[in-house]
Amino acid sequence: MSSMNEPLLEMKNISKDFFGNSVLSDINLTLREGEVIGLVGENGAGKSTLMRILFGSTMIHETGGYGGQVILNGKEVHFSSPFDAIAAGIGMVHQEFSLIPGFTTTENILLNREPVKKNLVSDIFGDRLNTLNRAEMDKRASEAIRLMGVDIDKKMVISNMPVGHKQFTEIARELSKEQLRLLILDEPTAVLTEREAEALLASIRGMAERGIAIIFITHRLQEILSVCNRVVVMRDGVVVKDTPADQTDVQQITKWMVGREVAGKAETSVRSHEGAKDILSIEKLWVDMPGETVRNVNLTVKEGEILGIGGLAGQGKLGIPNGIMGLYQAGGRVVFEGKEIPLNAPRKCLDASFAFVSEDRRGVGLLLDESLEWNIAFPAMQIQNKYLKKYLGGLVKWRDEKAIREVTEKYIGELAIRCTSSKQKARELSGGNQQKVCLAKAFALNPRLLFVSEPTRGIDVGAKALVLEALRRFNRESGVTIVMVSSELEELRQSCDRIAIVSGGRIAGILPANASVEDLGELMLSQVK
C-alpha cells in the first residue's frame, strides 16, 4: 500500500493570528490513512482554531486567512468554506449538535443530501420539487449506522433522544458521506455515558480499520491512550509534544498540557483566610445554563479572600456566577452574611450588594451605544440611587451629571481606560478597555462581594495585567471579597488565594493558589463529562 508511505493529510508550518494576536504558530501535523490521533490541550491552546483551518471555516477567512500549507492526498488545498472541505472528504462532528430537533434520525443523517425521485412537477419547476425517496433514505441511513457499529433507532425523533444518541446521529451523518476520508471528532464523548463512550471508542477503531483517518479531540486522556495511535499536545498555540500513545501516560500528558515555562511562579502573597468568617455559602446549587450546566455545587467563600474558580470549558464554572446572579435558572440555597438570597431574582442579589462582571461583555456587560459615563454610573444609579439629585422630597429625581462625570473621570484615571473622553460610546473602545469599563461599573457599586467571570478573555497581555492588578487592588484596599472565574489557570494562580476546580458541573476540589499546576490539572480532568 503506497498510501502508508504518503500521508493523507499534512499541515505544514500553520500559523494564524487574529488582528496581530498570534494564536497558532508553526504547527506541523501529519496523518495517514486509518490513523487515529488524539489532540489535547487546555482551552485556548489553539485546537479549535487549528481544526477550523482544516475544515475551511469562513471565520478563518474573515479574519485574514492563515499561514502555511494544508496538503491533502499530496495536493495543496485551500478550502473557502466547510462545503469545500466536505467535498474533499473531511467530516467534522462539532461539540454543539447540528441536528434538526423535529426530524428523525434518518432525516438528520441525510439532511440536505436526501435521495429524491423525479416527477412531473419537478420537471417544470426544478429539482427542489422532487419527492423524497424514503425507501432509499432508510437504506442509506441503515448502512451508515451499520458502519458506525453502534445501534441507534433510525425512526426516532431527535428531540426525544438521549443526548448520546444525538452524538451518534451526527457521527452516522458523517459516515453516510461516501467521500469521507478524514473525520474530526471534537469532544464527542463529553456528553456520553460511560457505556456509550466505550461503544464510540470501539466504533472509532472500526472506522480506522476501514481506512478512515481520525482526529480525536477530548479531555478524557484515558480514552486517548486506549484508542489513538499518536497523541499531539498543544499549548499556547504550538505543538509541544507529538508522541506515540503507547509511550506515554496520563500524568505526562497532563503535565505537557498545563506546564508552562514559567510554571511554579505563582503569586507569592497567597494569604490564608482560615480564621475569617464565611461571607457566602452555596449549598446544592444547580444551574441550567446551556453548555455550562452546574450540578450540586457546595462552596463557601471566606470574607476578604479572592476565590478562583477554574476548570475546562463546558464543565460548569461559568454557570456558578451566572446562576447565583439570576441570569440563568438555578436552584439550591445561597446564604450571604447569614441571610438567604433568593435565586432567579437578579435585583435581590444586587440589593444584597453583589456585583457581577459578566463574561459576555458586549451582551450583558455594556450599554454599547451609550457613553462611558452612562455605562459606569448606570447600575449605581438604578440600584443604589447614587448620582441623583432629589427634588420635592425625592418625588422627582434628576441625574447628577456632574457627579457622574467625576466618578467616570476617576475610574478612567485609575484603570487607565484609553478613550477620547468620558462621553465616548462604549462600542468604540477596544476589548481590553471595554473590560475595564465593566470593572469600573462594578466598582462604582461598592459591592461587598464581586463576581468576575473571565476577566481577561480576548484582551491583550498589557490590558490583562492591568485588569488583574485592578482586581487585586480593589480586594486589598476596599476589602471586597472576589470570586473570579477563569479558564486560565495561570491567571488564577497569580491572583487568587484559593482555587476551586469545577469538573463535570461539580466542585472537584479546592486547593491553595500555590498548589502545583499538575495537581490542579488533575482535578480539572477528574470528573470530566
Binding site: 466547510p82 462545503f83 447540528s98 441536528l99 434538526i100 430537533p101 423535529g102 426530524f103 432525516e107 439532511l111 440536505n112 443530501r113 436526501e114 429524491v116 419537478s122 429539482d127 427542489r128 420539487l129 422532487n130 419527492t131 423524497l132 446544592k284 444547580w286 441550567d288 450546566t293 450540578r295 450540586n296 435558572q329 438555578a330 436552584g331
Partner: protein, 380 residues
C-alpha cells in the same frame, strides 16, 4: 405508574388543545341561545367553509418554514382583488373570468411575496408583527393604485365600477356575473335527516381538497423537507447547505399566490368586492380561525384549518344572535365577535409563550431531580 403517565398525557392534551375546547364550550352555550335552526346553521357553515378554507390553507406553508402566523397573505388577497377588478372591467364573466383573474393575480402575488419575503428575512423571529405592518404599508400602495391610478393610468372602461369623478374605483364592485358560479358548478343539495336541505358547494370543496392533497404532497418534496428543516433550526439548515433565505422567500411567495386564489374564491362567493375593506380584516380572521382550530405559531395542520373554520365561524354566526337574545341589542353580539377574534390571537400567543417557558423550567426541574437522585445513591 402507567396510570399517571396516562393522566399526564390527557392533561397535556387538554392543555395543548385548550383554545379549541374553549371555543367548543362557547359555541355549545351560544347555539341554543341564538335560536337558529339546524338547517340554517349547517347551510351557513358549509358556505363559510367553502368561502374561507382556501385562504386559511394558504397560511400553512410559511408556518412550516418557521415564519409563524403570517400576514403576508393579506398581500396576496390584495393581488387577487386587483385582478378581479380588472377582469370585471373587461366583462369576462363566470368561470373563465375567475380563471383569468387567478392567472392575472399570480404576477402581482409573486412580486408582493418577494418583497415581503425579503423584508421578513431581515426581521427573523419577528415575522408576525413585521408582516402585519407590511400589510398596512402595501395597503397604502393598493389605495394609490385603486383610488388614483385606476381610470387615470390604468384604463378602466365601465362607469359602473368607476367613481363619478372619472378615476378610482367605487366602494363596491359587483361580481354578479361571477357570483357563486364556482360553488354552483356542480349543484348538490343534500337532504340530511333532522337538518333538512343543505346546499353543498361541490366544486369549491373539490378545489380545497386538491389544495390539501398538494400541501400533503409538498411536505414530501425536497423543498418541503428543506422548509421543515429551516423552520425548526435555521442555523443547522444553513450548515447543511440549505439556502435558508431563499427557502423562506419561496414559502412566502407560495403563500401570497395561494392567498390570491383564495381571495378570488372568497369574493366569488360573496358576489361583490368591498374595494377598500375586503382584504383589511381577512388576515386577522384567517389567523384567528387557524388558532381557534388548535394551531400554534410554529405548528399547524390541515386538521386545524377545518376545525378552526367550523368553530370560529359557528361562533361568528351565533354570537350576534345570542348576544341579541340575551341583551336585546344586536350590536353587543357584533362587538363580541370582533372582540373575540382579537382575544383569541392574544390568548393563543400568550399560551404559546408560557408553554415555551414551561418547557424551559422543566429542564431545570429535571436537573434538580437528577441531583437529588444522585444524592440518594450516594447515601445508600
Amino acid at each position: 405508574m402507567n396510570n399517571t403517565s396516562k393522566n399526564t398525557k390527557i392533561l397535556s392534551f387538554l392543555r395543548s388543545s385548550s383554545v379549541p375546547i374553549l371555543f367548543i364550550i362557547i359555541c355549545a352555550v351560544c347555539i341554543p341561545l341564538s335560536g337558529l335552526s339546524a338547517n340554517m346553521l349547517f347551510n351557513e357553515i358549509t358556505t363559510r367553509m367553502g368561502r374561507n378554507a382556501f385562504l386559511i390553507l394558504s397560511l400553512l406553508i410559511p408556518i412550516m418554514a418557521g415564519m409563524g402566523l403570517n400576514f403576508g397573505m393579506t398581500l396576496g388577497a390584495m393581488a387577487g382583488e386587483i385582478a378581479l377588478i380588472l377582469v370585471s372591467d373587461w366583462q369576462i364573466v363566470g368561470i373563465p373570468g375567475m380563471v383569468l383573474a387567478m392567472i392575472l393575480s399570480v404576477p402581482f402575488s409573486i412580486l408582493l411575496g418577494l418583497f415581503c419575503g425579503k423584508i421578513l428575512n431581515m426581521a427573523k423571529g419577528r415575522e408576525m408583527i413585521t408582516s402585519y405592518i407590511i400589510s398596512y404599508f402595501i395597503n397604502g400602495v393598493y389605495l394609490l393604485v385603486v383610488l388614483y391610478m385606476m381610470g387615470s393610468v390604468i384604463p378602466i372602461k365601465h362607469s359602473t365600477i368607476k367613481l363619478p369623478r372619472g378615476y378610482g374605483i367605487r366602494n363596491t364592485v359587483s361580481l354578479l356575473n361571477m357570483r357563486q358560479k364556482l360553488d354552483n358548478l356542480i349543484p348538490l343539495k343534500l337532504n340530511i335527516p333532522g337538518v333538512g336541505i343543505v346546499k353543498i358547494p361541490v366544486m369549491t370543496f373539490i378545489i380545497i381538497a386538491i389544495l390539501c392533497l398538494v400541501i400533503v404532497w409538498f411536505r414530501r418534496t425536497k423543498l418541503g423537507q428543506d422548509m421543515r428543516a429551516v423552520g425548526q433550526d435555521m442555523e443547522v439548515a444553513r450548515d447543511a447547505g440549505i439556502n435558508v433565505e431563499r427557502t423562506r422567500i419561496i414559502s412566502i411567495v407560495i403563500s401570497t399566490v395561494l392567498a390570491g386564489f383564495g381571495m378570488i374564491i372568497y369574493l366569488q362567493n360573496m358576489g361583490n368586492i368591498a374595494t377598500y375593506s375586503s382584504h383589511s380584516q381577512i388576515g386577522m380572521f384567517c389567523i384567528a380561525a387557524l388558532l381557534v382550530g388548535g394551531a400554534s405559531v410554529d405548528k399547524a395542520s390541515i386538521g386545524n384549518v377545518f376545525l378552526g373554520v367550523i368553530l370560529f365561524h359557528t361562533m361568528f354566526i351565533v354570537a350576534p344572535k345570542a348576544g341579541a337574545a340575551i341583551t336585546g341589542d344586536s350590536m353587543i353580539g357584533e362587538y363580541f365577535r370582533v372582540f373575540v377574534s382579537y382575544a383569541v390571537i392574544t390568548i393563543a400567543l400568550v399560551m404559546y409563550e408560557t408553554q415555551k417557558r414551561k418547557a424551559k423550567s422543566q429542564e431545570g426541574a429535571m436537573l434538580a431531580a437528577a441531583q437529588d437522585e444522585g444524592e440518594e445513591e450516594k447515601d445508600s
